[in-house]
């Protein structure tokens, strides 16, 4: 049982990291898309920064409280440096230099971020299946103990 609990805890920590990289990648994709729209239609960088609440909010409404899940860790331990694979994309200088990048560079970065985001979403989905499996196992054991 202790082994199952340790595995559960480890999966939760990795899931927090993967969700973190996923959400930062999504935010970057949506900001780069907003910048490309700005170039096409005019408007200042100031306007873009003022529109961040709309750009960063989720497109779809939240699920109702009965289908929401308490995040067991608010954020990953920041001791990690995100350098594996494409993860450096969530910390590079794209957003620092956003107005100075060319349309081609923005398009290329967005494609790479989309690849990273899909990778993270796939890993996250499989982690959720593992975590949910462990949790139903832990709960079944608890029910057996209680009866």
């Amino acid at each position: 049982l202790d082994e199952v609990r340790a595995m559960h805890e480890e999966c939760l920590e990795v899931e927090t990291e993967v969700s973190y990289v996923r959400r930062l990648a999504q935010a970057r994709i949506d900001i780069v898309s907003a910048e490309l729209d700005r170039r096409a239609s005019g408007g200042s960088v100031e306007d873009l920064v003022a529109r961040l609440p709309n750009i960063l909010a989720d497109e779809h409404p939240r699920s109702d409280p009965a289908h929401s899940r308490l995040p067991l860790h608010l954020a990953p331990s920041m001791a990690i440096t995100w350098q594996r694979g494409l993860e450096h994309l969530i910390g590079d200088s794209t957003l620092l230099n956003l107005p100075t990048l060319s349309v081609e560079e923005l398009g290329e970065t967005r494609e790479q971020l989309r690849t990273l985001e899909r990778e993270m979403s796939d890993r996250r989905r499989s982690l959720h299946r593992v975590i949910d499996g462990i949790e139903s196992d832990l709960t079944a054991r608890r029910r057996v103990d209680q009866t």
Partner: protein, 252 residues
């Protein structure tokens, strides 16, 4: 990039230019999407996500202005804590739970307190309803209006716990933000729940199971309902009742 970021911080802290600040806001703004998403989980759908993100951005700007790069800590650590704090503070100030609903919740808590003192045990639902001069259907209808789910509700619950422990009004959320300068120990929702563990263990069996699965195993209330063989609306009522009973016990 690390050198570029450090240079920009140096430039901003020295000259305070609007342009440097805007670049820092853009660079770190994805953190707000992450934190706002997690703090929003469990909040009523009537609260707009874009409003939560805008409160979070105020928290990010506050963090950028207050951060001291020379201290050698990671900005992300400090920012995440300030973003969460800003969203929760702003929600409290706009009364995210309408006052009329809060008043009803307080009435249920007082009913639990009074009955537990008199009966020396956990009261039955019909006893709570009778104390409030309602029938059980009316009580369940009232409970459906109150939904204490998510991190914001947990933070408030612990505010109660802290208030009764230390007599002050700071919530655990505040103490964690104070510790933001210690980069090693951060973000542990676990720590918040550790404070609740004793109180949850003393709850009646069904309520203890609902609270344990929701706060410690991250089940959704819908999943807990399926496990208990009750409807979704019923498990939400059981959860709300359990929270109000827990709050009445923590307030003592």
């Amino acid at each position: 990039t690390a050198a570029l970021v450090a240079e920009l911080w140096g430039d901003y802290k020295e000259h305070g230019t609007h342009a440097a600040r805007e670049r820092l806001i853009l660079h770190y703004s994805p953190l707000v999407k992450f934190v706002a998403g997690r703090v929003a989980s469990g909040l009523p759908q009537s609260i707009e996500q874009s409003d939560l993100v805008s409160y979070g951005i105020f928290g990010l700007i506050d963090a950028i202005d207050k951060f001291d790069p020379a201290r050698g800590f990671k900005f992300e650590t400090y920012a995440i804590s300030r973003i969460k704090g800003a969203i929760i503070d702003e929600l409290r100030s706009i009364d995210w739970v309408p006052r009329s609903v809060r008043a009803k919740a307080r009435a249920v808590e007082r009913a639990y307190s009074k009955l537990e003192n008199e009966l020396r045990r956990s009261p039955e639902d019909k006893e709570v309803a009778a104390e409030l001069e309602m029938n059980e259907d009316e009580l369940n209808h009232l409970l459906s209006q109150v939904s204490f789910t998510g991190l914001v509700a947990l933070d408030e619950l612990l505010g109660r716990q802290q208030a009764s422990d230390s007599g002050g009004s700071a919530t655990v959320g505040d103490t964690i933000a104070d510790r933001a300068h210690d980069p090693v120990e951060m973000f542990e929702v676990d720590e918040m729940k550790h404070l609740l563990a004793d109180a949850i263990n003393r709850m009646p069996d069904r309520e203890r199971l609902v609270l344990t699965l929701y706060y410690y195993e991250a089940f959704t209330l819908a999943e807990i309902g399926a496990l208990l063989g009750v409807t979704e609306s019923r498990v939400c009522q059981i959860h709300t009742k359990a929270i109000l009973q827990l709050r009445s016990r923590l307030a003592e």
